[in-house]
């Protein structure tokens, strides 16, 4: 009998269906890989098991009996523990204190008892941890062990790890995989969310693949090669309906020369006027640092960004945090870059706003980009799609020679997505050099005349005849990187 079974789980957030009938079955003494693209629903599915997301429909069974998991404490009581990407530890407390935190009666344990108790726990699970160390002084790998130890101390039989190796150095990864194998041999069920093929093949015995909220495969890992896994993850659907713009490449507009920074291991790229180049890749492979370098908010360790056809305008990937000032109005957001340059005419004269001109700018943008808002509305009151259109309008106001768009349609509905993509095509046709950085493979295929894959801070070029989901999917998993 399986230890845990999630069957036909459905979950909707607002208008997006995160899970559309996802299933996951865990056997005792097994390490189970959960694989899928960004946004495929992996995190939502394990959160349903951990009780931090309530499914709209579906059944969760533990040892054959259906259960309701209302919250994480209920999950813990049922023997389900989770190691989060962002550790849930109290930094100022010692290792021993964090270990017993939340255990009934632990607040009254004398210090010496606490320490021996913690030491026993660490020994039992074979974890080398100093009980007296202050948690925030620990290296990341040790914090992760502490999280694992805490879940085990609470009696977890099922351990969920959400991309645990993203924060680890290669040697630490081996230690972690060794630990997971040991726990498996003790009979624990482990769910490992990972994008890294070598880790999956090293330690996992089964794999479940999610695509767009659905389980598309669940089978033993034996006999699957990386080609097959990549195909399972991204599917072999027909090329998407939209096509890259057909434009002639003009003179050189942007040159990235050997960019190195934390998270970037040497990026070289040339972009010509009228070209639309797309960078695919799984999140966390350098997208964030590259965006920050191009936005001018992160210093380079080495290399150079040459903008030969200025200005460079950026469509930031996080429109709520970096794209817009949500509590300023639509019109104020539109002219903020001009204010940053000291108040340029016609909207500003001698540094003072000309209200008529400001209103004009906003009503034009609202009409051209079909933004559903009035100029004085705070950006916060707009829907995600309309916020993104404001962001697009602002980037294009600068009449850029180079336009960089980072995940420009993330979280948008179909109509807004189509509108934003068409805008990027139109810019390329108008002679702008457009660089798209997107974790969505369909978007990359639909827009990119040339495609490269970001993997561990490097660019892997994709041959022009290999613009297929399967080929790019393999590169995204790092095949051929070494």
């Amino acid at each position: 009998m399986p230890r845990v079974a999630l069957r036909d789980i459905r979950k909707r957030f607002g208008t997006t269906e995160a899970l559309r009938g996802a299933s996951l079955v865990l056997e005792p003494g097994s390490v189970h890989a959960l694989l899928g693209e960004n946004g495929a629903g992996k995190t939502t599915l394990v959160r349903a098991l951990y009780g931090s997301v309530r499914p709209d429909a579906g059944v969760i069974e533990i040892d054959g009996r259906p259960v309701e998991i209302e919250n994480p404490s209920r999950a813990l009581a049922l023997g389900i523990g989770m190691v989060h990407q962002h550790f849930m530890l109290v930094p100022a407390l010692s290792v021993a204190e964090n270990l017993v935190l939340g255990e009934p009666g632990s607040a009254w344990l004398p210090r010496a008892r606490l320490r021996t108790h913690a030491r026993e726990l660490c020994e039992r699970f074979g974890l080398a941890l100093d009980p007296d160390a202050t948690t925030d002084s620990l290296p990341v790998a040790q914090m992760q062990r502490l999280e694992i130890a805490r879940a085990l101390a609470r009696g977890a039989n099922v351990l969920i790890l959400d991309e645990p190796t993203a924060v680890l150095a290669p040697s630490e990864v081996d230690d972690l995989l060794g630990l997971l194998a040991r726990l498996r041999d003790e009979g624990k069920s482990i769910v490992l969310i990972s994008h890294k093929l070598e880790e999956i093949t090293a330690v996992c015995d089964r794999v479940t693949v999610l695509r767009a909220g659905e389980t598309v495969a669940s089978r033993p890992l034996a006999g699957l090669d990386s080609h097959e896994l990549g195909r399972l993850m991204v599917g072999d659907a027909l090329p998407p309906p939209g096509r890259p713009p057909e434009t002639e490449a003009g003179p050189l507009a942007l040159a990235l020369v050997g960019l190195r920074a934390s998270g970037l291991a040497g990026i070289d790229l040339e972009l010509r006027a009228g070209e639309l180049v797309a960078l695919a890749g799984i999140d966390g492979n350098g997208q964030g640092p590259l965006e920050e370098v191009l936005a001018g908010v992160r210093a380079l360790d080495a290399g150079e960004v040459r903008v030969l056809r200025p200005p460079l305008a950026l469509l930031p990937g996080d429109r709520q945090r970096t794209g817009l000032v949500l509590d300023l109005s639509v019109e104020e957001n539109l002219v903020l870059p001009e204010a940053a340059r000291g108040g340029e005419p016609p909207v500003f004269r001698a540094g003072i706003v000309i209200p008529r001109e400001l209103h004009q700018v906003a009503t034009e943008a609202i009409r051209r980009f079909e933004i559903k808002a009035s100029p004085e509305d705070p950006a916060r009151s707009l829907s995600g799609g309309n916020q993104q259109k404001v962001s697009v309008a602002r980037a294009l106001r600068a009449r850029p020679g180079v336009l960089v768009a980072v995940n420009p349609t993330r979280g948008l509905d179909l109509a807004a997505t189509a509108a934003v993509r068409e805008e990027l095509r139109r810019e390329a046709r108008a002679g702008t050099a457009v660089l798209l950085i997107s974790t969505e493979l369909d978007e990359v295929l639909e827009l990119g005349q040339r495609i490269a894959v970001l993997f561990r801070g490097r660019l892997l070029p994709v041959a022009p005849d290999a613009h297929t989901r399967a080929a790019i999917g393999r590169l995204m998993l790092g095949e051929g990187a070494e």
Binding site: P316, G323, V325, D327, V335, A339, A340, I352, V353
Partner: protein, 338 residues
Amino acid sequence: MKLLRALVQPLAATAIALALAAVLLAAIGADPFSALAALAAGGLGDRIALENTVVRMGPLLLVGLGVALSFRCGIWNIGGEGQLYAGALAATALVTRGLGPEAGAGSLGLALLVGAAAGAGWAGIAAALRVRRGVSEVLSTILLNFIAVLAVAWAVHGPLQEASGAYPQSDAFPDLARLSVLPGLRRVHLGLVLAAALPFAIWVLLFRSSAGLRLRAVGLSPEAARYAHVSPERETTRVLIISGALAGLAGALEVSGVTGRLFENLASGYGFTAIAVALLARLHPLGVLPAAFFFAALATGSGAMQRVAAVPSVAVQVIEALVIFFSVSFALPKAGAK
């Protein structure tokens, strides 16, 4: 309609605070109605009371304006007191030592400018510490307060002490360096007209200029501002300097318009009450006008309340505290929203 909505919360906070103050006054055995009536009469009751209130309002208005501006930029300048003292000290040093008694008519304007510059410089230290070394401006401005207040104490016991050496105070300002009292009035001086005009100028700066848009953007979201090529560091420095200049000007106005010389405890506590003024005004430059008037009236009326109703004047500090408490409890506006 918008104005009405903006007024509801500060008025409600004040009303609740006064009601609670009445209960407290009754609890210490005073007649709350006669005490509050004495407070009102002492602050607003006749021409002399009104003039005293308006004179007190000057520094509260200017320092409060600077506080409101810096809070809008997400900068917690608690150093109004020190910046005011720095302005008063610099203006006095210039008038009594730098220029000498035979200085011409320009000395007044020069004194006000030097006072504002000194306040700006004093706040500029906090700006430099924050931008270069990451020192919280809350900490540095509070500590700079102590230095400025003690520097004034040292100056009036030492280099700036009056020629006769009788008291720890500076020489009196010559007439040419004093702000004249408005015709027909006893105490209200020309500087207060300037002070009353500044909220309108700051309103234009904050809501109708590119500089104001930048500093509000930084206050609301430093990251989004940076992505729009606004430098939070530069805006932080600017706003602290403007805020310090306003407080420094308040100090210079106080010595050249009200006291006529520098001494210890020149304007004790004004820098702190000004924070309450800015909060009650909900960080709006025009709201600072009535808020400063209200706190000035409370301070002026407290003496009368003590005489008439035998209530200790410190009770007024309790009322001030209650007003602050309730105006802060009603949610403050987001730092940069209109």
